[in-house]
Point group: C2
Chain length 430, copies 2
């Protein structure tokens, strides 16, 4: 391993350009640490004329990223194009088939095609590394695959999308509504022009699927992940949560139970004093439960050019040092296929907000529905009076089956005195 | 790498026995993950007759741990004897000289003899791994050495001693004094019968020295670490901290600055809303500042058999997979020798608590001293009235040089109206 590790970078967007920049800026540090240099030998992007503030002299340019993956003189291809299919997938497959290792930040690709790519990589005795795909600069993939390798991981959960956490934090701090804070986040570059991928929970679900595969050494059916986003979280709900000693976060949650795996993404109310509740702004955090180590929480910037490039370069350093591990921490042909646990089987506490007419008998009607579904109410909150007008009624429950609360919600929704669709947020005891 | 990785365990105390137990309990999981088995082939402890609840059949027994390190049929020696010198050191040296890798949880040994052992290991082309030596089960050594290898680490700080954090948390939650809570911690097994190593900050300093060597790729002179413990933290100080929106934690702090390295361990007041402040009980946490990744915080159990064994087994899994790295993340002959930055050069805010006679002119005398040392006072807190009796006077300062506040303290201590030695706690803006 005396020669340099030769790297081809596919995609020169914010992150790709930053990887090239970081490898250049820290070249001597990295060589000292890895015992050899890491050199960018080739790059590929759509537009060669764009000024990225990069010195690309001496680096081969390819208009066609897959062509680069196949023919460039390199040991590793760093895929930073993005997208679950199309060019990104072709680049990774081509690189692996040509015997090159792949480093990627592409969670969508991994969530959907990860196991197939892992089979390909292991068949070709090469590596598929993806620290940058989950939780930005936080070395959680490494922690799961290596540091905690002696543990059975029972569960993990995390704040995996910085955009959602930024919005929820902003709503809490300012009391403003979702749409307002989203618009501000867009103006500041914390949210995309089309934010649906983030705010509808899809990005969190991709990352959760990747983490669950690794943590539980199992294949994950991405379609089986229960996904809800944060569009329906209102300023009212956030204020009520505070009053209840709780805080609203969009969590990705993975549990091994009943011989299967429960995978869900949705807004949660969690205790204000938990470490996870203190994760603010665009930060991410992941908490893992190992059977020997206990809880381990990792926290840091979940996105952005610097943190994401840091993670990709960490993977490159592993490769430069000759360190490798299986994609999912175990040979892919030994991965389990844990059955998804249906969402209806969740048991836990719930927060319900109803907009009701403030007149006699309403609470009696609602509590009758709860009783009929064997749901035990923990607290009622009703404030202000506005006879014959809509007032919020907040109910929290003791532990209840998800199927029961969903049935109860439907029945409640049909009551005359209930004026808007009920809002439900799950309360998680972390 | 088809055969098993053969492991000899030196020391069968709580952690040593747990390593043997964990490797046995998770044998198939570990083999699946590492692609080969990890087998305990030899053990050594002082008393062969003691019942440790372990099945040691088929495992060679050695009364002499160094003899085991030299002659046992093994690839790795796990040193869990402890102590900076004596048997532990002999075992590690002997193992390395015999070409075996060493896995150790021994921070005292590493803080003092780490670089010499690293030279020996690299000379013999073997590994010295020590995830278990710092922050128990938290994979912070791996994060620094590998995950964040593309970053210059500017600073790190952490809660590195679970005993101290348990005591400080207990004092805060119950309002009781240090001695009380220490006695309770001893009764519950959270503190040793002789607790000085923990509560005087020595253990934290050992861990800080190890982390700083790794983070900054430098040799550290352990004698140059400034160390203060928590014996003098009183219930009063904790109550005042709360009132000021602060919380008292024993932190280990390492900064690279002015071409040198600042290493200090002392009680700190930190903002109540910082992630570090939310680390309670026996938990540990380390926060790192990388120039690309930004802040990264890792949190988990800092001690105990399970977490420590988890870390040692993580190191064994690396060895089983054939993954290795230099002891300090870079070749030891390329480590820098950063000069220690003298404690007097610290700049920051300070909390001072004086016990003064409550009579006219006292505050004037004290503020005159502050003015003479060019110290800018941020706040005064004096409550209650007890004419001619001792009352606490709490002062917080704006950023000030440590040397100035120390001089001022001496002068203040000589004032007639000051009845007890002033208490100083540094306020850290994290």
């Amino acid at each position: 391993m005396s020669g340099p590790l030769r790297v081809a970078v596919a995609g020169l967007g914010t992150v790709g350009a930053e990887v090239v920049r970081l490898l250049h800026a820290e070249a001597s540090l990295i060589a000292q640490r890895c015992g050899r240099e890491i050199q960018v030998t080739a790059v590929s992007a759509r537009d060669r004329t764009r000024d990225r503030g990069l010195d690309l002299s001496g680096i081969a340019w390819f208009d066609d990223a897959a062509e680069m993956a196949r023919t460039a003189p390199c040991d590793v291809v760093v895929e930073l194009i993005g997208g679950a299919d199309g060019v990104a997938k072709a680049v990774c497959e081509t690189a692996i088939d040509a015997g090159r290792a792949v480093v990627t930040a592409n969670k969508a690709l991994l969530a959907i095609h990860g196991p197939a790519l892992a089979v390909r990589a292991e068949g070709g005795a090469t590596s598929l590394a993806y620290e940058a795909a989950v939780a930005g600069g936080i070395p959680v993939v490494k922690a799961l695959r290596e540091g905690l390798a002696g543990n059975r991981i029972r569960s993990l959960f995390g704040i995996l999308n910085g955009t959602c956490n930024y919005i929820l934090t902003g709503m809490r701090e300012t009391g403003r509504e979702f749409a307002d804070v989203l618009a501000e986040a867009q103006a500041l570059g914390y949210a995309e022009a089309d934010p649906s991928f983030d705010i509808d929970g899809v990005d969190t679900a991709h990352k959760l699927a990747v983490l669950a595969s690794l943590a539980f050494n199992t294949r994950v059916d991405f379609q089986a992940v229960h996904v809800e986003g944060i569009r329906h979280v209102s300023a009212q709900d956030i204020a009520y949560a505070e009053e209840l000693g709780l805080r609203i976060k969009l969590l990705g949650i993975a549990h091994q139970r009943d011989g299967g795996v429960e995978l869900r993404v949705h807004p949660c109310m969690i205790g204000k004093d938990t470490p996870m509740a203190s994760v603010g702004g665009a930060f991410n955090a992941v908490e893992l439960q190992g059977n020997h180590v206990g809880p381990v929480l990792l926290y840091g910037m979940g996105a952005g050019a610097g943190p994401t490039a840091s993670a990709a370069v960490g993977d490159l350093c592993d490769l430069a040092r000759g360190n490798a591990a299986n994609t999912y921490g175990a040979a892919v042909d030994r991965l389990a296929t844990l059955a998804p646990v249906a969402m209806g089987l969740r048991r836990g506490a719930y927060y319900l907000r109803l907009m009701v007419i403030d007149r006699p008998g309403v609470i009696a009607d609602i509590t009758a529905v709860m009783r009929d579904h064997q749901i035990s109410v923990e607290s009622f909150l009703q404030r202000g009076r506005a006879p014959d007008d809509a007032v919020p009624l907040v109910i929290t429950t003791h532990d209840t089956a998800e199927s029961a609360i969903m049935d109860a919600m439907q029945t409640i929704d049909r009551l005359d005195s209930v004026l808007e669709p009920p809002r439900l947020i799950r309360i998680e005891a972390l």
